[in-house]
């Protein structure tokens, strides 16, 4: 409906017209957990745009090295570009230093790469997961312009606001009084990720189709998949 405006308001207002917007949201949810000697990063496998589905089998996790996996959601063009740039920077480092980059080094580098685009950001929510120099699991989470922090667990993407409080309760033992803080085993963490994605798929329209979990240990990276509801 058209609101009544004065003649001056109409002629002095901004020109109206269709505007090209550089970003689009392709949905998806990611989740990473760091354990004592392992690290997990899982994502759903749905790629969507608006109310449509582009692909039911396109995981949002990308292997960077034997010890590090990146999960990234948001604008898919920027997700792929970020992965491409990281891959080439990792290769250059390996050639120059004759060793693979540590997870903490990759995290620090990613932060500077993202802040370099401070005024035309990578529209992505990224989480790095891997093994640190001491063989312990680590998780680094980033905002679109590179602010990062090492954490024990983090959820990102469209259903992150539904998953993060559950993780705070189950892994961080928040709001649970004097419950004993039992250390998280790989089996329990895997079961938790599966259950948590089942719940996310119930209430978030952008999460579904399948889950792809990357398990990073001292022996390398292995993948596990299982189906989710497809509606």
């Amino acid at each position: 409906m058209h609101e009544k405006v004065s003649r001056d308001e109409y002629y002095l207002s901004q020109p109206k017209g269709a505007h090209w917007y550089p970003y689009e949201d392709h949905g998806g949810t990611i989740l990473a957990i760091a354990g004592e000697d392992f690290s997990l990063v899982g994502s759903d496998t749905r790629l969507s745009e608006g109310f449509s589905i582009h692909s039911r089998d396109h995981p949002h996790t990308y292997r960077l090295s034997e010890k590090t996996v990146m999960g990234s959601v948001g604008f898919h063009g920027d997700v792929l570009t970020l992965k491409k740039l990281l891959d080439s920077r990792l290769k250059i480092y390996e050639h120059e230093h004759n060793k693979a980059m540590t997870t903490s080094a990759i995290a620090a580098m990613l932060s500077t790469m993202m802040y370099g685009r401070r005024f035309f950001p990578f529209y992505t929510n990224t989480i790095l997961a891997g093994m640190d120099e001491n063989g312990k699991g680590c998780v680094y989470s980033f905002d679109p312009i590179g602010s990062y922090e090492r954490e024990l667990f983090r959820a990102g993407g469209s259903a992150s606001s539904m998953l993060q409080p559950l993780l705070d309760n189950q892994i961080g033992f928040k709001n649970q009084g004097d419950v004993p803080h039992t250390p998280l085993t790989l089996e329990k963490a895997l079961a938790l990720i599966k259950d948590v994605f089942i719940s996310a798929a119930e209430r978030d329209i952008y999460t579904g189709d399948g889950v792809c979990i990357n398990i990073i240990t001292a022996d390398g990276v292995r993948q596990e998949r299982f189906p989710l509801r497809r509606d």
């Binding site: 608006g50 109310f51 329990k188 079961a191 798929a201 978030d204 329209i205």
Partner: protein, 275 residues
């Protein structure tokens, strides 16, 4: 709003909050979004009558508000209406017109015709210039035969042998356009409508969970809810129950409440299980 509980509220829409809401929006306050149904709804005319179908997901933005809501609304014993768009508008409009049809039946002594429901609905929706967000698929069987209409929120309606509405309407219509034939048998018609709604349930993010069907014929109505439970929640492995005492008690105060005993009696009560 009247403070007296005994005073009957004025009927119809109340525009009391409009001025205040306008001011709030200018100061930057974002109003809460209405629950929309996202939705795939469809209807088709077959040999013996009408088959209506609908999904069961209601969304609030990108969150599923209701996983199993009912979108096929009762209008009359011989007429049902599927609704897409704003959930509250669909519920209220169909209830209002259902009442008007009953009054029409009492005043004329005849079963109301589908064209009457169509006229009343579109004239009301046009009067509100589309602000009542009701997008309907109206179907029913009356003395002149089976009739199917699609009605838009701005007040236009189309009388057709097969129609779809909602965000999943394109997915559903693609199934209809490839499989519709005039005078289909009951089983084939039910399967086609089920498949059309399934197209929306799986390929449209605004539609999901179950498929409801409603088959209306001259003699009876079959309201099948759910007709197809196409999506079931995955089995969770862990148990997330909390042991008693998980929520810590910070402090306890006991207050004495003075009361008078007026009568005493012994009653057998069912003990409530809380585990």
């Amino acid at each position: 709003m009247s403070l007296f509980a005994t005073e009957r509220p004025k009927s119809g829409f109340s525009f009391e909050n409009c001025a205040r809401n306008g001011v709030l929006e200018k100061t930057g306050f974002t109003a809460p979004t209405a629950v929309k149904t996202g939705t795939t709804i469809a209807g088709l005319v077959f040999e013996d009558g009408i088959v209506l179908g609908a999904d069961t997901r209601a969304t609030e933005g990108s969150v599923v508000a209701d996983k199993n809501c009912s979108k096929i609304h009762f209008l009359a014993p011989n007429m049902y209406c599927c609704g897409a768009g704003t959930a509250a508008d669909n519920d209220m409009v169909t209830q209002k017109i259902s009442g008007e049809l009953e009054l029409l039946r009492l005043n004329t002594g005849r079963m109301p015709r589908v064209c009457a429901a169509n006229r009343i609905l579109k004239q009301m929706l046009f009067r509100y210039q589309g602000h009542i967000g009701a997008y309907l698929v109206l179907g029913g069987v009356d003395t002149t035969g089976p009739h199917l209409y699609s009605i838009h929120a701005h007040g236009s309606s189309d009388k057709l042998p097969y129609v779809t509405m909602g965000s999943g309407s394109l997915a559903a219509m693609s199934v209809f356009e490839s499989r519709y034939k005039p005078n289909m048998k009951r089983e084939e018609a039910m399967q086609t409508v089920r498949d059309a709604i399934a197209g929306g349930v799986f390929n449209d993010l605004g539609s999901g969970t179950n498929i409801d069907l409603c088959i209306i014929t001259k003699d009876k109505v079959d309201y099948l809810r759910p007709y197809d439970e196409a999506n079931i929640k995955g089995q969770r492995q862990g148990s997330y129950r909390y042991a008693r005492g998980t929520t810590g008690v910070l402090n306890t105060t006991v207050k004495k409440i003075d009361y008078d005993v007026t009568s005493a009696a012994i009653k057998q009560l069912e003990v409530m299980e809380t585990d």
